[in-house]
């Protein structure tokens, strides 16, 4: 899927967004290794944070991905984790941010 995903973010948070997206890029790098190693606890930890922070910044679908990944990690379901991981990467690669006054 390579369609652009439009996201409206509160303009008050504009200066925080680059750092947030940088952190998510690091998450992707870490998750690549963790998934290869089957480290469910560490995957759960990253996913849990994602489920809380993504939606808080305005990236709701990404937060939902985090929630599902966390559930899958708790259940040690590697295939389900991989599905959510692909969704995470796709989302981050295709978002187009518009800053709005909320």
């Amino acid at each position: 899927m390579s369609n652009k995903i439009s996201v409206s973010i509160d303009i008050e948070l504009k200066e925080l967004i680059p750092h947030f997206l940088e952190s998510r890029t690091k998450d992707v790098i870490n998750l690549t290794t963790l998934i290869t190693n089957g480290d469910f606890k560490a995957i759960e930890s990253i996913a849990h944070k994602l489920s809380g922070n993504a939606g808080s910044y305005g990236f709701m679908p990404l937060g939902e991905v985090g929630k599902r990944m966390e559930t899958a990690a708790k259940a040690k379901q590697l295939d389900a984790i991989k599905v959510e991981f692909e969704k995470m990467k796709d989302y981050l690669n295709n978002i187009e941010i518009t800053y709005v006054t909320l």
Partner: protein
Amino acid sequence: MAGTPLVLIIDDDPDMVLLISKILTNMGLETMSASKSDKAITMLHSRVPTIITLDIDLAGANGLNFLKYTKKNKFYAHIPVIVFTAQTSPKLEAKAMEFGAFKFIKKPLVANALIMIAKQALKQAESFKLEKVFNDGEANGIVTIQGDVTEISELSFTLISSIKFSPKDKIEVTSSFFQKMDVQGCSQRVNSHLGASEGGFKTLVSFVGITDTAAKQIRSCKKKV
């Protein structure tokens, strides 16, 4: 605490700390943060915040433990603690409220909701002032709070407040009624804790060295405070 209200943000997710800090500093508040409960406790000892935001999901159940710690400590029990979680657990929410959380907010955080709750917390915190002095690792503090004085006699009175006093605490209650009865200059001593009641904790406080005149005035007073 004079000056800008201070918020202690306790969260092990740096992105959440940045976000919460941004929202609160935009409100004109000052913030400090800790990612672990033991560091948060150290920060509490050095600078008492006006309000606390706490990620209840800190590793090792440390979020709830920190909440219990603050609520059991009379120097910090008055600080409103706004609790955050990414979990959907009614049991956890009930536990947090049981341990004395001010409000419970589920992530994802909505900025306007945090602003509204922070304003409510600031209002509650308004009546408290706390100065901390450390002496050889032991916490000593002067707390100024509001309370109600009831059931006064020439020997003692009952104080209802948000603090559970113990007999080793020094206390000085000021009130316009005490001034009228001419007992304001009289020493007071915490006698005993009488249990919890609606509005807070009941403490029996004794007058020490009350004058005959003041005792007579109180005896002749026909109404309770």
